[in-house]
């Protein structure tokens, strides 16, 4: 075996298909044959609302979306206390990154007390007062 391979090795430059044996059998593979871990990574890349809608696809998909590692929510016209409890919830779930894209947004204090937070991005938010120095990266892009 080693000898045969050595001769192939010396004859070829890069990789090359050697049609030595049987041709490959074409099998149909669809998205449902992906592992749960991969499906969850795909769902994590979708807006959370879209991901949760996919729970009705089939029984296998029923709870997949609850495993997403990123949450993207549009909070519209909510009271400050509701926003605050939303952020409190994510901070308690060991969030590492928060991005806020809102022109008028009062930063809840819990964000600055969150120990796991690595990246805080307050896009378009101009002034705030941090309460802790636990955050490692902070980016503030002002759109005036």
């Amino acid at each position: 075996m080693t000898k045969a391979l050595n001769s192939i090795n010396s004859n070829l430059k890069g990789y090359k298909l050697e049609p030595l044996l049987l041709p490959s059998k074409q099998t149909v593979v669809n998205i449902d044959s992906l592992s749960e871990a991969i499906l969850i990574s795909i769902l994590s890349l979708l807006p959370t609302k879209v991901a949760s809608r996919l729970s009705v696809i089939s029984k296998r998909w029923r709870h997949l979306w609850t495993g997403v590692t990123a949450v993207e929510l549009k909070l519209e016209q909510l009271l400050y206390c509701i926003i605050k409890s939303c952020f409190k919830l994510v901070c308690n779930h060991k969030v590492e990154e928060i991005q806020v894209t809102s022109a008028s947004f009062i930063v809840p204090r819990c964000i600055f007390q969150c120990e796991t937070l690595v990246n805080l991005d307050l896009n378009r938010r101009k002034s705030f007062r941090p309460h802790s120095n636990a955050n490692k990266i902070m980016s503030i892009a002002g759109n005036s």
Partner: protein, 164 residues
């Protein structure tokens, strides 16, 4: 790059599940953590034989694609300036495939621990299903709806915020 001693080999042979052999440059193979680990282990043992790595889960047509990706990315491994060009290439590369190929490629990338290809495939699939309805997704991917109409309605009620 890992340090290479004079006895280490510059190429390895990878065998697909349908028994085709691919001769792969070590730098290209190292794009896959699975292959890299195999190479590192063999080199630690100080072998001078050609390393043969059998991949029981990857067919040769899919392996060809993974290696095409690895080869391109190995070319760019040492410089960050061409990121834009590489991104463009990634996009063109995935655009050519149907869903079945894309899914097989995703599984192969996962199995061969080629993280950047796996992320790329996931992003591509996410982008392509984002605007589809549940019914369309079931049709395209031939997924059987195993809910009763009542069960389906219950789930929609439970997550009513998402279906508004």
């Amino acid at each position: 790059m890992a340090s290479s001693s004079s006895s280490s080999l510059s190429r390895v042979v990878v065998k697909s599940s349908d028994n085709n052999l691919f001769v792969v440059n070590k730098k290209v193979a190292s794009q896959s953590q699975l292959l890299k680990q195999c190479i590192d282990n063999m080199e630690e043992k100080g072998t001078n034989d050609v390393i043969l790595i059998p991949l029981s889960n990857v067919t040769s047509n899919i392996l060809t694609l993974v290696l095409e990706y690895c080869e391109k990315h190995a070319d760019f491994a040492d410089d960050d300036n061409n990121n834009q060009e590489l991104k463009q290439w990634d996009h063109e590369f995935l655009k050519k495939f149907d869903y079945a190929t894309l899914n097989s490629l995703t599984m192969a990338a996962d199995y061969m621990v080629t993280k950047s290809l796996l992320n790329l495939c996931c992003q591509f699939i996410a982008d392509s299903i984002k605007d589809l309805t549940v019914q369309q997704i079931r049709q395209i991917f031939d997924i059987k709806n195993d809910f009763t109409p009542q069960e389906e309605a219950d789930i929609k009620n439970e997550n009513a915020w998402a279906f508004r």
